[in-house]
């Protein structure tokens, strides 16, 4: 174990996989320079310019080229600088990368990893702040991963790169400088396995990415008034570890789903629907979502702060499920 921040863990994960498999390469805007936050810094020097490739500002072509190269057996790791820019690559990702295996009757595999970062922070405005995971959950053939800790960032990235399917790997910019213990061994974290971050008896909060930390803070606050909250970190949204959620709900009887994306049509809606189908008899209260309002992400700091769900909103949702009302 070593204490590393999220960016360092990502870089280590990339380094190890590039060293392990010559088919792995990194491609995107400015990646040879390290990218805007330094996630790929030093990789070009270590592995050479043909393994870490800077591209023009052409998200669609880069995604399509990576898909074509993956179809022939390479293992590209595409970096889309901000998840907001992925709109330019949607045809390639949704109509091609996601479907080639199925449409070809299994003749083609697309071992493609797409690293994106997003989330609202730093007054970045509506084109550099979104949480868009729900769009991709709607596409058969895409896997979606959203780590919350440096150790998971590394371990899940390694799994994503070794997976024979396109995997969208969503990083929250606000987590980049958070630190944690990261295994220095070849510790792969499997896709589709959630982690129980805190055990509790009165309510379950399901979250992913940065919102896991917010949920843990809310759980800590609630514990001071004797409320015991279980916090589940999904880690992967597709495949979804429904079993872990349902097992927790059977114990607590109450569920809050928290995410930073807008509430309408978000991942929380899907999780709520599936939990009520699987565990309706165990629920003592309706499933509640804590998510962003139905607006673009505003830039000004107080507006942005209102947009991002905080620990107080999660705590208040849990209290309300327990019938104790907001304090």
């Amino acid at each position: 174990m070593a204490a590393q921040n999220f960016l360092e863990a990502i870089r280590e994960g990339l380094r190890e996989e590039m060293a392990r498999d010559a088919a792995v390469y990194v491609i995107g805007e400015d990646v040879a320079l390290g990218g805007p936050f330094g996630a790929t810094k030093g990789l070009a020097e270590e592995f050479g310019a043909n393994r870490v490739l800077n591209t023009p500002i052409s998200e669609g072509a880069v995604m399509g080229m990576a898909t074509g190269a993956a179809a022939l057996g390479l293992r590209p790791v595409v970096e889309v600088m901000y998840i907001d820019f992925i709109t330019l690559a949607m045809d390639q990702l949704v109509n091609h990368a996601a479907k080639l295996h199925y449409m070809s009757g299994g003749q083609i595999r697309v071992p493609l990893t797409i690293r994106v970062q997003g989330g609202a922070s730093g007054a970045s405005g509506a084109h550099h702040s979104q949480s868009l995971e729900a769009w991709f959950l709607h596409v058969p053939g895409l896997k979606v991963v959203a780590p919350s800790t440096p150790a998971d960032a590394k371990g899940l990235l390694k799994s994503a790169i070794r997976d024979d399917n396109p995997v969208l790997f969503i990083e929250h910019r606000d987590l980049y400088w958070s630190r944690g213990d990261v295994p220095q061994t070849d510790a792969v974290v499997p896709l589709g396995v959630a982690a129980v971050r805190r055990t509790g008896a009165d309510a379950t909060v399901v979250a992913f990415s940065k919102m896991v930390g917010t949920a843990l803070e809310a759980a800590e606050t609630l514990s001071e008034t004797g409320i015991s909250v279980e916090v589940i970190d999904l880690r992967s949204l597709c495949p979804l570890d429904l079993d872990t959620i349902v097992a927790s709900v059977r114990k607590t009887g109450r569920l809050v789903v928290a995410h930073e994306a807008v509430e309408v049509g978000g991942a929380g809606a899907e999780i709520a629907a599936r939990v009520q189908e699987a565990a309706f008899d165990y629920l003592d209260a309706p499933v509640t979502r804590v998510a962003a309002p139905f607006t673009p992400v505003p830039a000004s700091p107080p507006l942005e702060k209102l947009f991002v769900p905080g620990k107080d909103r999660i705590a208040s949702a849990v209290r309300s499920l327990l019938g104790r009302g907001a304090e």
């Binding site: 880069v62 074509g68 390479l74 199925y102 070809s104 009757g105």
Partner: protein, 338 residues
């Protein structure tokens, strides 16, 4: 003109063109007699482009194409029965029925997935060329698409990178717009004139050829493949053909009948309707005339060759129609690779 090839290769080229033509005629006849398939697009009229282009590729080379793929897939050596079975949604089809006419894929023949969103095929093919280069192989990728692709942005992003990185890709634009839209070439809805100006602006060698002139196509493709294999980068070829009168946005119609090859040596038999097509626009008849005039083949040999091809297509139709549909439950399998 004929490509400068030995006798046996010329006849083989002709056999492939006949296969492309007779396959689609058989498909249209089958649908008209009640065999249900989804809407489809035909390659009729473009055989003199696809056959000489594909004949120059090696085993390690790959092709990418679009919704108008039947000719390309057959030209690459695919089994007509399995292609037809795929078009008819049968379990014996190349994709097990999951792709259909728009997405025929034959990985073992280097026929990679198609894009029916059309422009998307250009980045995919460019990526395959990148993969060949990355591996240090001298394989090339041939990317077939219609002129409509030049109206989508994906084309420009991808050819820019192909040019910057000198990728081994041949962009073969089959401009079949004449006849579809009134006016001079190009008939597509794009402001650029000529279309070859567009890749040229990205410093990609670009040449327009008559897509019904097999010799001209052969020569242009040969040069492009040599350039790609030598690591010198991409090329763009615009092959111009006239749109076959039976082309329709959804279901084609055999307006010109099943091709009567005798029109090539008995022009008096050409009917008034669609006379221009038979006399001067159909590449297959043109190639037939050129072969005859060269003295390399006689009319009765042509009819014998054609008879063998047609018999094979009838066999393909029987195979496809007799093939079972896939189990309905198979629809749920294969979303993810394991």
């Amino acid at each position: 003109m004929l490509p400068d090839l030995p006798q046996a290769e010329l006849i083989e080229l002709y056999r492939i063109m006949l296969t492309m033509r007779r396959f689609e005629e058989a498909l249209i006849v089958a649908t008209e007699s009640g065999t249900s398939v989804g809407h489809f697009h035909v390659y009729i009229g473009q055989e003199c482009t696809g056959a000489p282009a594909l004949s120059q590729l090696g085993r390690e080379d790959t092709i990418f194409t679009t919704h108008r793929n039947h000719g390309h897939v057959l030209g690459r050596g695919a089994d007509p029965g399995r292609v037809l079975a795929e078009i008819m949604g049968r379990a014996t089809g190349y994709n097990g029925g999951k792709g259909g006419t728009l997405h025929v894929t034959a990985r073992e023949l280097g026929v990679l997935p198609t894009s029916a969103v059309v422009g998307g095929v250009v980045p995919l093919a460019t990526g395959a060329a990148f993969a060949a280069k990355q591996r240090g192989s001298d394989a090339v990728c041939m990317c077939f698409f219609g002129d409509g692709v030049l109206e989508e942005g994906a084309f420009y992003e991808a050819i820019n990178i192909a040019s910057l990185w000198s990728l081994p890709v041949i962009y073969l634009c089959e401009n079949n717009s004449e006849g579809a839209i009134a006016g001079e070439f190009p008939g597509s809805t794009i402001a650029a004139r000529p279309l070859t100006d567009l890749p040229a602006a990205f410093r990609i060698p670009a040449q327009a050829v008559d897509g019904t002139d097999a010799g001209e196509v052969y020569g242009a493709v040969k040069k492009a493949i040599q350039r790609a294999r030598a690591g010198e980068g991409p090329s763009f070829i615009e092959a111009r053909t006239v749109r076959w009168p039976g082309s329709r946005p959804l279901w084609p119609d055999l307006l010109t009948g099943e091709t009567d090859l005798a029109f090539a040596w008995e022009p008096a038999r050409i009917p008034q309707s669609h006379g221009d097509w038979h006399r001067s626009q159909d590449g297959l008849l043109r190639f037939t005339r050129e072969l005859l005039q060269s003295g390399r083949i006689a009319a009765d040999e042509i009819l014998a060759l054609d008879g063998a091809v047609r018999a094979k297509m009838q066999e393909a139709v029987r195979f496809a129609i007799a093939s079972p549909y896939p189990e309905a439950e198979s629809a749920l399998a294969g979303v993810f690779a394991r």
